[in-house]
Amino acid sequence: MNDKKMSLEKKLKSQFGDLISNIVNQYGEITCEVTPENWQQICQQLRDDDQFSFEQLIDLCGIDYLTFGEAEWDTDGVSSTGFSRGISNKGPGRFSWEERETELIDKRFAVVVHLLSIKHNMRIRLKCFAPDTGVLAVPSLIKIWSVADWFEREAFDLFGIIFVGHPDLRRILTDYGFIGHPFRKDFPLIGNVEVRYDEEKGRVVYEPVSIEPRVTIPKTIRKDARYAENQEQLEGDS
């Protein structure tokens, strides 16, 4: 199994050269990055080239890298009053819609694709970062794998990534007339509207949420012995 993975890594390098960057082999899974310009061409080749033949697109999803690696609770320092309480930060569970701030960071949104080759029994993960400036757009893969249709609609709905070339890019999971892209990290966990039936108006009405945002367990970053082990194994793998 591992041999095959290693050779896949080599094959990718020899076939695509600089078009593919950041090839990582972690936990026996290959991850690599592709730019939006080469996205369709590389996917097409990965499907059609006999040495890869990734016939199936297993999954496509978006990721928002805002607040990646940021803890809500500082566990390193401790003062005479004890550890920090871990009650202030900007995680999605902590703010409401009005107080949200839109932030721009480098390489914020990515589209991640998992491919499966039934012929060679192997998987690969491709990542495509959407451009940070201009339109948040990535080319659509619908012509290469038909199943991309709904997966791309989902990523558009939840993250607002636009798939260029998709014939019918509508919302799919959220409500009719929904505003915003809920899986972005700057979208509050409690949402922005709540729904109830209004007796007087005789219809369902939308109102701003009345729930206070609350986090019971803060996000904490700790590094223990396992990290060292994992790191060693990673180095051993590659």
């Binding site: 199936q56 999954d59 690696g69 999605p92 998987r123 809920p182 904490t220 994992n230």
Partner: protein, 417 residues
Amino acid sequence: MSEIKNYTINFGPQHPAAHGVLRLILEMDGEVIVHADPHIGLLHRGTEKLAESKPFNHSIGYMDRLDYVSMMCNEHGYVKSIEKLLNIEAPIRAQYIRTMFDEITRILNHLMWIGTHGLDLGAMTLFLYAFREREYLMDCYEAVSGARMHATYYRPGGVYRDLPDYMPKHAESKWTKGKALKEANSWREGSLLDFIEHFTDYFPEKIAEYNTLLTDNRIWKQRTVNIGIVSPERALQLGFTGPMLRGSGIEWDLRKKQTYAAYDKMDFDIPIGVNGDSYDRYLVRMEEMVQSNSIIKQCVKWLKENPGPVMLDDYKVAPPNRDAMKNDMESMIHHFKLFTEGYTVPKGEAYAAVEAPKGEFGVYLVADDSNKPFRMKVRAPGFAHLSAMNEMVKGSMLGDVVSVIGTMDVVFGEIDR
């Protein structure tokens, strides 16, 4: 002659044959479907976003509620993904227990499927039969976890606790007493494994019963043969997995090809279809139940002979037992940290997939050294299957829509997430 126009009808979201909350906008030309546009998301609960705001273990229970008729398989996918990131492996006995419960889950799912699919197409009896058998398997769930459906039984590093030594018995009531009570409790004298063994001896003749009712039934064949045909090439393009892919004749099963848990030690076959129609998928799933039954039998045999730990002995991931927690300071601290903060997971990303009853159920996790997943994506097999709806029903009759929804075996918990 007056001008004839296509018209649009709305199917669902509250329709008994919509298997939940599917809303279909059908453009009809007379009785023939021109275009089908499924509207989903009516059961969207934001499971993935919720998981991002909770420590890893808190989300195991949410997995049960995704595909709510194949609960433990979902847990397995999630737990496997965490185990991959943590670089840990469950003890062998836990692997066997997982294998056994995955297969119990498969039978649970397929019974639900055959029951409702039959009901949709006019076979009432089967629904009642299938639910009778499901009850036994739910009792297994209950015995092991305390819950009939939403078990939260699998944990990173193993399973929550070992299989119980006794089965709960029926109590005496006005209707069940004396001989009837003895009869009702006859399987329940021994341990859970004895109970499951009784079931595996009993189940094959029940499958034969279902086959008698359906396989050569004229009406059943009229409703399924040559309905919703998918060629192998299209099946790959449309992201089909599981019985939907095998029904089209592609031999692909993660249990064999990318084996996990104790499947490599099991002896079983993968049934595949020939024509890729609803009837072939029916045959595939029926045979899968037979195979699952045999796997369960093999697991029971092994589990009876090999006692051992079912949870990893690592206090960073698995909680100490009550006794240690009460009497040992270290254990108490670990217990406290695990249940207040959880464990942290090294930075990285992993995708782990299991062969769930409906197809490939995968969980993609991105971790950032913290105690919560940074991003979790659930790859639900039903999502890909349902997206092929338009292609599968285009050009067929309105009545076939019901047959196609049934053959896809869709559950909205996992599609809408």
